[in-house]
Amino acid sequence: MEKNKQDQEWDLEIKPHDTVFNLHLQDVWNYRDLLWLLVRRDFVSFYKQTVLGPLWFFIQPIFTTLIYTFVFSNLAKLSTNSTPPALFYMSGTVAWAYFQDCLTKTSTVFRDNSNIFGKVYFPRLIMPLSIIFSNLVKFGVQLLVFVLLLIYYYFKGFNVGLNSYILLFPVVVMVMAVLGLGLGLIVTGLTTKYRDLAFLITFGMQLFMYATPVVYPLSSVPAKYQTIIALNPMSGLIETFRYGFTGTGHFYSGAFTYSIIASVVIFIIGLVVFNKVEKSFVDTI
């Protein structure tokens, strides 16, 4: 035992303020088991005591697609280029749903977990991260539905335009997660003090969706508005996702690069806000 030497070395120092960029990533890594257990908890508790169990994961995208197809394609006669409407809408909704879930669920992370956070310490970032991963599971299941639909249309003779841009798919998902997480962290950080921001999220997400080419292709937007829509970091992502799987629309390299950069910037801002708030939010919430 090197007692005398150890006297000077502390394992932990609790101080009022820390630099905002000290994210305690080592700590997060040490708690990685908790991350997986939380993901598992979310998954298991989701379908316990339900009749349909994990089937719920399928029902949601199927019904949304049906409704969108009916409303936007049959009633409003919006163009989906040459893609079958169901396929078009499902590609949009599945991708959008992942982003939306990431954002809305992380945006209430402090409020939802104030009980746990007030009683025990663990790196707070674990909670939002677990949400991102839980939703990834859900997204995976929904993607499967989408792929099944794709195969169905393929056998019906539709020329599925699967192309090399599908390789960007993992990047698209990652950037969506980063963007959703980043925005969610900013919102949750601010809602601890200004609670009304939570209301903004509910209807803000609706507006956000219509400002993103989810139910319409970007190419169908009048040229003068295209730039404005493309300023939304989600636009480039959704378009790329859809283009990769169905060959509909275009790959806008500029918009895509912009999406990545914007997402990373938002994510960093989110981390800093979260990091600043997490220390003392227990006193204010």
């Binding site: 007692k3 150890q6 006297d7 070395e9 502390w10 394992d11 932990l12 120092e13 609790i14 101080k15 009022p16 303020h17 708690y31 088991d33 908790l34 257990l37 939380l38 598992r40 908890r41 298991v44 508790s45 316990k48 005591q49 009980n115 746990i116 956070f117 007030g118 009683k119 025990v120 310490y121 663990f122 003090k193 200004y194 609670r195 220390k279 003392s280 227990v282 006193d283 204010t284």
Partner: protein, 417 residues
């Protein structure tokens, strides 16, 4: 053997009182503007005591004010103080749930804190799943939990229900499982808030035993908050007494407990002055007071301290066989013991005297007295019923776990053979 496990330096914590939601934005802007100009925060006024009963000037209170102390490795430290003294705030800062406003804490070793049992338990998950989840929340790695899994289940005694969702558990089982997980944490420092208040006595005993093992057997550092002085005395070798956010005393447990009792004494309860009464023609009490071993009027007295009753009376007219009688009774007015003494003085004499009740015999509980002047024939000349209030405080008897339960009014030094 004087390695320091926790070093607290100039720790302060401010809380804002009142409503947060109104005017926060304008206040934030004002604060920001002040800080921008290099001035200090206009809403933090250092130096105001946190006394619940007194209305403060600003709506910021200092729950902890500039406290510093070191805790040595292997010490079991009891943190005591009245409600609002800052105990919970201190534990919260040490467990990193909240941050201090000023000052720092340096820690050597891993901290596991138990401010609540069963944090993060999910009602829909089974006992098994919750053990892993809860363990991970408390900072255990999966392999550690696996290693201790059988011991945890065994300790909690819920083997049969291990694959049942915890929402079907009785509240006792729930608490047992939750504590069992926490008890098997492999940390150098264990922080425990008053979680043992839940659960049945049997289980509390088990927990206390476990904590004892942890601090004495395994040489780990324990910080324990409780209102049960008996438990503190049994478990801890050191005590910290907090009052209004300041450390009043940091010493051996017995001394700190005594200090706490002395601090909380309400002497007005146990000093009596009886005005002269013409109707009492034979004799009457003039004064009566209950004092502790140090001679101070007290209403809280440790189990191992003696109680002294001081009286002053006047005999107006001597009658042969006149006696003073004092009865000790429990809170339900059941007589526990009676003491009498014959008085032998002339007319108009005032006599003062006292009687000492032995220590370590009256069981921890609340008591009061009956005092009377009477004669052998049963004629009563002066009587005061249910006067005084004495709380015998447990400071480490074997029965401390059963505080508040009815285990008798005296603890006799019986010998098991």
């Amino acid at each position: 053997m004087s390695d320091i496990a926790i070093k607290v330096e100039n720790l302060s914590k401010a809380y804002q009182l009142g409503d947060f939601s109104t005017g926060t934005l304008s206040r934030d802007l004002e604060r920001w503007w002040a800080l921008m100009r290099g001035k200090e925060d206009p809403f933090l006024k250092i130096g105001e005591a946190n006394d619940r009963a007194v209305k403060g000037i600003s709506d910021v209170v200092w729950s902890l004010k500039d406290i510093s102390f070191d805790i040595e490795q292997g010490d079991a430290v009891g943190v005591i103080g009245r409600n609002g003294a800052g105990k919970s705030t201190l534990l919260k800062i040490l467990s990193r749930v909240t941050t201090p406003t000023v000052g720092s804490v340096k820690v050597k070793g891993r901290i596991a804190s138990l401010l609540e049992v069963g944090t993060g338990f999910h009602p829909d998950l089974t006992g098994r799943e919750n053990i892993f989840l809860n363990g991970a929340i408390l900072g255990m790695r999966k392999t550690e939990i696996k290693k201790h899994f059988d011991a945890i289940v065994d300790f909690a005694g819920v083997e049969r229900y291990i694959d049942t969702p915890v929402k079907r558990y009785s509240s006792g089982m729930y608490v047992r499982l939750a504590f069992a997980v926490a008890a098997h944490l492999e940390s150098e420092i264990l922080i425990v808030d008053e979680v043992l208040a839940v659960g049945d006595v049997e289980f509390q005993k088990k927990c206390l035993g476990k904590m004892n093992d942890v601090s004495k057997g395994e040489g780990r550092t324990v910080l324990f908050v409780s209102h049960n002085m008996g438990m503190i005395s049994q478990l801890c070798n050191k005590g910290i007494l907090l009052k209004n956010g300041n450390i009043i005393s940091y010493n051996q447990t017995q001394e700190v407990v005594a200090r706490y009792l002395a601090d909380n004494n309400d002497s007005s309860l146990n000093t009596f002055v009886f005005p002269a009464d013409q109707k009492k023609t034979v004799g009457q009490f003039l004064n009566f007071e209950i004092v502790n071993a140090e001679g101070a009027v007290a209403d809280k007295i440790s189990f191992d301290d003696s109680i002294r009753l001081n009286y002053r009376l006047q005999v107006k007219q001597y009658i042969p066989g006149i006696q003073i009688g004092i009865g000790l009774q429990d809170k339900l007015q059941n007589r526990i013991s009676t003491f009498t003494k014959e008085i032998n003085v002339g007319n108009g004499d005032i006599i003062e005297g006292s009687i000492k009740l032995p220590d370590s015999i009256i069981a921890p509980n609340n008591y009061n007295f009956v005092i009377a002047i009477w004669n052998k024939n049963g004629e009563v000349y002066d009587i005061h019923e249910n006067i005084g209030s004495v709380t015998i405080v447990d400071n480490g008897t074997d029965l401390s776990l059963y505080e508040g339960k009815d285990y008798g009014a005296v603890i006799l030094k019986a010998i098991w053979e």
